[in-house]
């Protein structure tokens, strides 16, 4: 039994067909209908037409080019601010805050426009970011933001929104309306993390404040209260944990504070080759989450069994396990319990459940294994989520009773996210004055009378206290784009007694006064703004663990009904989350880490369920975007969803992502994409459940197209592209990669008759100064996609829309390939998942370079494989010859950069999605990086190693008359990575971090497809799973049969390709096992 790496079912089940279908780089018939065997003249578009077009276009081009050069103006400032230099970026520390998520960031501002988000390295996150925080800069320029205060006039069908011209009128109108309404005043918000805002809310007389989270953590808050710690959530230190057990918590993707957790988790995953050891991660879950994909040991269960698993684990830890679970699951629980106990407190159990009882049990486990004080820190409770589900229900009851006169809503969207949205809408209608401060015309805001949009975070002053004592500040990076006002100012104005000075009724000055007083001086205030974060010493927690609630929880859990039949679990995607940023095109186009699907949500189902539903997992299923659809019914709620089948799913679980199915007003990006699954959540009496039992599933025998990116780029069975093993095998055979490499080198020289130059048709490139290189540690890459979005932002990578992704036209310069590792006999027996960021490898022997007829891609003296857009004529030979499939072709005018205007609607390539129009709006284009060319139709593009940043770093060094320091030049993907998996630098610098990481990891370091001898400048460190299993694909010394199998299996055409590239000399010997054995 050997393990097999595979990306798609077609590869596993129908290899022959798969191979023939993946031969073409661009899998589409050319759109020339008329050209058939009859020849050119008889074709539908005959020679004369061709000549006509040719003549016309030549004439048009000449005309367009020879017209008088337009007069361009250079308009300087009227008064240049002293510290602004046009053309030089400035960086301002601020804080990304969204639905309680807090990430200290630094905004890069070029000529007054924020264009890129970086992590704040001074903060506790160490400079990491998420896909969503990276994409937030695009939200600033969202053309669908609410642009000015609105007031609803008329009722029923005549209701319409009218602009309120000034904020004085707003205050006046709201004041009068509130006075007339009487009743109580309620402020409904998401979790408020800002201390100054909390103070303003507290000072507002008779204001009832309700916090409501779209995806709630109130089970955890209540459980911690019951366990004696107060209604808080502690800080978790994943770095200190040697054993991590996650009960369905997606802590690397969406749970609480993934940036921080990924950083800590990566600490335990890095390997010292001299003494290999790493943390052990058990995951118990129902579906295949991103975190589960990274686990060492993974066990699946029904969603309804989550509580039982937690209880069983507690019993196992306490040694009182009564069993009763499925045998495999039971074994896993025993193994996890044993590991937890052995870890001596350096262990951690987390649970993603929103059930109070489950969290009480988890607390009991953490107490039993001694995690408190070691991996769980109560001295710095976190504020990310504070909503209590029952409070929202109470609010609805009050609304229904008519007691609420005025309701103000900020950062919450219950009309979309509440489990019973209709009930909320009906209740909301009873409030007399309904005010929304939300930034967009979302589902709840639509129902309000007054819409007074608040600033985007990049426009506002503000603060956040992610953890007790740690403050992260916000400062404006751009003048407000629209007529918006911080909602805190509204609260201050409306609550101020008449005649109060303006300074105290304006949040900007309130904020300054507040923090100057708190921090002691104006200097301290400025320092805090400059750093972005302040940290005061942690205060020891007042609470201590109490097991009083365990008995009650145990009884409750024992009483849970055992589920049968299909069950539904609702999860969040790293890209879309709860849906509040669903209108962001970068996020919609970011492939999900596990499914690699863009622009949709879908039902994730198991292989056995697929068989049950009669879905055939042959090559057609995988090859074509057409996916079967099912009707999913839970009680009265039913929904039609497309299906994607995954290994490693619980057989009876159907997992669907939240955050989709938004309304029209959110914008063309999110409207109509996917299905809203919030109605499938339910209230269990204390908290909201994100799973549903008793589901019914019917195959509708219809199909729906899902735009997945994973299959777009095939290595055609060359498995050496990904290297993965277990810790056990790695310890036993540490030199597998080294030996493979040595044998290739030997064979190479042997075949080259010891004359290096005769062995290759590639010129030898000198790198007299710098040689840029990159190393990616696959043990620290968890697939989150922050790098992909960062690359979008830094390099003006276009969004193409679902229609184009369906046609394999996605433009990502950097993609994260996902490989399932499973038993060869049973693909459902998932051993692990490998995430491999794949970008241009900047080969020294680059196969793309020598096929370009116009030398548009060539080699630089710094080791870069350069792409020159204005030289490219679009033959795509380079993309065909690239073994890694990282080159992207601009099939259409995605960016509006063509010389001819309105070139986006072309009959020949088909009409593009409306999101392209959004991305090309004047406002949205403000996000473009002015240092990077916006590519036009018909040229190839690809990763440039962020050459604009390299050039800038070199220039800075030259201007300062100094040597380039390590770390001066960083790529966008590198700075975005929360776990520092990517190291970039000068390979010629003996002291650079890159050289260090490469020299310290000779046994794990590999170049993808080394046998092709393309000499990439990107190296990877092999993925190691902490498992005691023998990895059968990790052969003992001397054997490279693996490569040989791959080679022989692939037969004809790609061998040609490889050998053509290699001058026919190296490959055969390198991959002939008979000779080497």
């Amino acid at each position: 039994m050997s393990k097999k790496y595979w990306q798609s079912f077609g590869e596993v089940n129908d290899p022959e067909n798969f191979k023939s279908q993946s031969q073409d780089e661009f899998r589409e018939e050319l759109p020339f209908e008329g050209f058939d065997d009859k020849g050119l003249i008889d074709a539908k578009a005959p020679r004369r037409d061709f000549l006509k077009y040719l003549g016309f276009s030549t004439a048009a081009a000449t005309l367009a080019a020879s017209c008088k050069v337009p007069v361009r103006k250079a308009i300087p400032y009227a008064n240049k601010p002293e510290n602004i230099i046009p053309g030089v970026a400035k960086y301002y520390a601020t804080t990304y805050v969204q639905d309680g998520d807090v990430i200290p960031v630094v905004a890069k501002v070029r000529d007054g426009r924020p264009i890129k988000i970086e992590g704040n390295e001074l903060s506790y996150t160490g400079g990491g970011t998420t896909a969503r925080s990276q994409a937030s800069v695009l939200d600033l320029y969202d053309m669908y933001r609410a642009k000015f205060p609105l007031h609803k006039t008329g009722a029923g069908k005549d209701a319409k929104m009218e602009e309120i011209p000034t904020f004085e009128q707003v205050d006046d109108m709201v004041g009068k309306a509130m006075a007339a309404a009487g009743g109580s005043v309620v402020l409904l918000t998401g979790s408020v993390v800002s201390p100054s805002t909390k103070e303003i809310i507290a000072k507002y007389p008779n204001l009832k404040h309700v916090q409501y989270d779209a995806v709630s953590y109130s089970g955890m808050l209540l459980a911690n209260e019951a366990s004696g710690f107060g209604r808080k959530i502690p800080s978790y230190d994943f770095g200190a944990a040697k054993v991590i057990v996650s009960l369905g918590a997606d802590f690397l993707g969406t749970w609480l504070s993934p940036v921080e957790f990924a950083k800590g988790y990566a600490k335990g995953r890095r390997i010292d080759e001299k003494n290999p050891s790493m943390s052990k991660h058990f995951q118990f879950e129902s579906y295949l989450s991103m975190t589960g994909a990274n686990a060492d040991e993974r066990y699946t269960h029904r969603p309804s069994e989550a509580a039982a698993v937690a209880l069983d684990l507690l019993n196992a830890v306490n040694g009182t396990d009564a069993g009763g679970m499925d045998a495999k699951l039971e074994k896993g629980i025993q193994a996890a319990a044993a590991a937890l106990k052995a870890a001596n407190g350096e262990a951690l159990v987390v649970s993603g459940s929103n059930d109070k009882h489950v969290q009480v049990i988890v607390n009991a486990i953490n107490n039993a294994i001694g995690a408190y004080g070691k991996t769980i820190d109560w001295s710095r409770p976190v504020n990310y989520r504070q909503g209590i589900d029952s409070e929202m229900n109470d609010l609805i009851a009050q609304l229904e009773s008519g007691a609420v006169g005025t309701i103000m809503i900020q950062g919450a969207n219950p009309a979309y996210t509440y489990f019973d949205a209709d009930k909320f809408k009906a209740a909301l209608a009873k409030a007399k004055v309904k005010i929304s401060f939300n930034e967009k015309m979302d589902e709840t805001t639509e129902l309000c009378d007054f819409i007074i949009p608040t600033h985007h975070y990049l426009e506002s002053w503000g603060d956040a206290e992610p953890k007790a004592g740690i403050i992260s500040f916000q400062q404006p990076t751009i003048f407000p784009l629209f007529k918006t006002r911080p909602f805190q100012t509204s609260l201050l104005k409306w609550s101020a007694p008449a005649g109060q000075p303006a300074a105290s009724t304006d949040y900007d000055s309130y904020f300054k006064t507040y923090w100057t007083a708190k921090l002691g001086s104006e200097e301290a205030y400025h320092k805090a703004l400059q750093d972005g974060v302040t940290e005061s010493p942690a205060t020891p927690s007042a609470g201590s663990y109490s097991g009083a609630a365990v008995a009650e929880a145990t009884t409750a859990i024992s009483g849970y009904k055992k589920g049968s039949g299909p069950e539904v679990v609702l999860y969040q995607k790293v890209s879309i989350g709860t849906g509040s940023q669903a209108g962001n095109p970068w996020l919609q186009e970011l492939p999900d880490p596990v499914s690699k699907a863009t622009w949709d949500n879908y039902a994730m189902i198991s292989i056995s369920k697929a068989k049950e539903l009669g879905i055939k997992l042959d090559n057609d299923y995988e090859y074509y975007p057409h996916k079967p659809t099912i009707k999913l019914t839970v009680g009265k709620r039913e929904v039609v969803l497309p299906v994607l089948v995954f290994p490693g799913m619980n057989a009876d679980t159907i997992a669907v992502a939240l955050g989709y199915g938004r309304n029209e007003a959110i914008g063309v990006t999110a409207a109509g994409v996917g299905v809203n699954m919030y109605p499938f959540t339910s209230f269990n009496g204390t908290t909201v459940d994100y799973h549903a039992t008793g589901a019914a599933v019917v195959n509708r025998n219809e199909s729906y197209k899902i735009a997945q990116t994973q299959k777009h780029n095939s290595y055609e069975n060359r498995e050496e592209v990904v290297r993965e093993t277990t810790l056990h095998s790695f310890k036993n055979h540490p030199n597998v990669i080294v030996d493979f490499s040595n044998e290739l080198t030997e064979a190479y020289y042997k075949n080259a008759n010891e004359d290096f130059r005769q062995a290759t048709l590639y010129p030898q490139h000198d790198q007299p100064g710098i040689k840029w290189g990159m190393n990616i540690d696959m043990n620290a890459c968890f697939g989150c996609g922050a790098c992909v979005v960062a690359c979008h932002a830094e390099n003006n990578v276009p969004v193409v829309g679902k229609g184009e992704v369906l046609r394999y036209h996605d433009m990502h310069w950097l993609r994260i390939d996902r490989y399932f590792v499973s038993d060869e006999k049973n693909e459902d027996d998932l051993k692990g998942v490998v995430f491999q960021p794949m970008l241009c490898q900047h080969c020294d022997n680059a196969p793309c370079e020598n096929v370009c007829p116009v030398a548009a891609t060539n080699h630089s003296s710094e080791g870069l494989n350069q792409m020159t857009y204005n030289r490219c004529i679009g033959t795509r030979y380079c993309a065909n010859n690239c073994p890694f499939k990282v080159r992207r072709f601009n099939w259409a005018d995605y960016t509006g950069a063509d010389s001819f205007p309105n070139n986006r609607d072309q009959k020949l390539v088909g009409k593009l999605d409306s999101v392209i129009e959004q991305m090309n709006d004047e406002l949205t284009r403000m996000v473009l990086n002015p240092d990077v060319t916006v590519r036009s139709r018909g040229v190839i593009e690809k990763c440039s190693f962020c050459v604009q940043k390299l050039q800038a770093a070199k220039l800075d060094a030259k201007k300062e008359d100094r040597v380039l320091k390590d770390g001066d030049a960083k790529t966008a993907c590198q700075t975005a990575c929360p776990s520092n998996a990517i190291v970039f630098g000068n390979a010629h610098d003996k002291d650079s971090a890159l050289t260090k990481v490469r020299s310290e990891n000779p046994q794990r370091r590999f170049a993808v497809l080394e046998q092709l001898h393309v000499l990439p400048n990107v190296t990877y460190l092999a993925k190691v799973r902490n498992s005691e299993e023998e990895a059968t694909n990790w052969p003992p010394k001397g054997s490279i049969e693996h490569g040989a199998e791959g080679h022989e299996a692939k037969g004809g055409h790609e061998a040609h390709k490889a050998e053509a590239a290699k001058g026919d000399t190296t490959l055969p010997a390198a991959t002939k096992p008979e000779e080497t054995h």
Binding site: V69, A78, I85, S860, S861, Q866, Q948, A957, K958
Partner: protein
């Protein structure tokens, strides 16, 4: 902020100029360092020879207490504090429009010495020939081409005539000998001539078309009419205002930047009329009223010259200058790269700007033009440790190459002589230690300018 900076700077220079007196210790100071400082910090408000925003700095050591550089330093570091009990500087402030000199707290005593040394040096060499800084890029050989063209033409015509003569003579001799031949065809009906003319037409026409097509979008000699007749000759030439005073980000940014209105007003608050300079003419020869042009500036600035004290700089409107030097969008050009790191003079690309009234584009700004310069320009290499330290990484690499690799290749007996020559050549290509040019460190690579 505007007023404060510039006046301050003016005043500094006034006082600096008092020092000329003690010109004995010039040798001890670094004139070159002084020049850098002067240009970077002082020149925006002070001229050495004449009062501008601030006083002229020549002979400053003769004035006030400035012979003592420590006093001068105190003043430069903190003009406001110094002025508090110093009537002389108070008087200067009044004299120069009530503007205070900017404080330069980072200036040290050594800096003051250097700056004064530079000023004295300039005073001493006054009247001598000016900096030859600019390069004469006029293409030569133009006249030769004309001569050659004319000669070719004449020779061509002579050849044609001779051929006609030849054929006529041949006919005559044939007639004389009685051989009957067909009547010769007139030369304009001769197919050979027609064919040759056609070929010539296509060659010349093709050449012209190609040349014209290449030149599309290029605008050498572009000299648009600007909203204000601004004469670089008057400002940068006659008044010797340093380029960087107005184009202040040229050392830091990709843009040299056009000055904002407040920068213009730094000087023009005081200089309200154009009187002493030479007469100004537009391209078409009309005379320009300099004072009226200054009045246009006042209109943009919202400044009333008769009531200067009430001016509110925040009410100013930007001037919409017409951009002369345009590059295509796919070209990345960075001024600081060239001016600061590469130490290229402004005039190398922009021409004799100090002699132009309204600016015109002198260089072609074509890729060939860029590349030529990158081929020829030497890099500020660090061979003798005076060059830019950035390049030391290359130097080390070169040395390694030179010593170890070259020796290794030479000593390698297994190589054939052809291979050895090839290797030595390839090493030597990168090891031309005498002159490393921009092209040798990748200056001709696509992604140096296109990304």
């Amino acid at each position: 902020m505007i007023s404060c900076k510039t006046t301050g700077q003016r005043l500094t220079l006034i006082f600096l100029s008092l020092f000329t007196f003690c010109s004995i210790h010039i040798s001890a100071q670094d004139v070159a360092a002084g020049k850098t400082l002067f240009v970077g910090k002082c020149a925006s408000c002070h001229n050495i020879f004449k009062a501008t925003t601030g006083p002229a700095l020549m002979n400053l050591e003769e004035r006030h207490k400035w012979a003592d550089h420590k006093e001068l330093l105190k003043w430069i570091n903190n003009p406001a504090g110094y002025m508090a009990n110093d009537p002389y500087t108070q008087g200067l402030k009044a004299q120069y429009g009530g503007q205070m000199m900017t404080a330069f707290s980072d200036i040290t005593l050594k800096n003051v010495d250097d700056i004064v040394a530079y000023i004295n040096d300039q005073v001493a060499s006054q009247g001598k020939s000016k900096d030859p800084g600019t390069v004469n890029n006029e293409p030569k050989g133009n006249s030769n081409a004309v001569i050659f063209g004319v000669i070719s033409l004449i020779l061509g015509i002579i050849a044609l005539i001779l051929m006609q003569v030849n054929s006529n003579l041949k006919k005559m001799s044939d007639d004389a000998e009685g051989i009957s031949r067909p009547e010769p065809v007139a030369f304009y009906k001769n197919k050979i001539y027609i064919a040759m003319a056609a070929i010539l037409f296509f060659v010349v026409g093709g050449y012209l078309v190609a040349k014209g097509a290449i030149g599309l979008g290029r605008q050498t000699n572009y000299q648009p009419e600007q909203p204000i007749y601004y004469s670089h000759k008057v400002h940068a030439g006659i008044n010797q205002i340093n380029c960087q005073y107005c184009h202040s980000s040229v050392m830091e940014s990709k843009h040299a930047t056009i000055p904002s209105v407040n920068v213009c007003m730094n000087c023009h608050k005081a200089i309200k009329t154009y009187e002493k300079g030479p007469k100004l003419y537009t391209e078409s020869g009309e005379e320009v009223n300099g004072t009226a042009e200054i009045a246009k500036l006042y209109k943009y600035a919202g400044f009333d010259p008769n009531n200067a004290t009430v001016w509110d700089p925040t009410k100013a409107k930007p001037i919409e200058w017409i951009k002369i030097h345009n590059l295509p969008d796919h070209v990345y050009f960075n001024h600081s790269q060239h001016v600061k790191a590469g130490k290229v003079q402004c005039q190398s690309c922009h021409g004799e700007i100090t002699a132009m009234d309204e600016v015109k584009q002198v260089s072609e700004l074509s890729m060939g033009w860029c590349v030529n310069c990158h081929r020829q320009t030497k890099v500020d290499f660090n061979y003798d440790s005076t060059g830019n330290k950035f390049y030391s990484i290359y130097e080390k690499f070169h040395n390694d190459l030179k010593t170890s690799e070259l020796n290794a290749v030479k000593a390698d007996k297994t190589l054939t002589s052809k291979d050895r020559k090839f290797k030595i050549d390839s090493i030597m290509r990168t090891v031309r230690m005498d002159s490393v040019r921009v092209q040798d460190i990748g200056g001709l690579e696509c992604q140096k300018c296109h990304y």
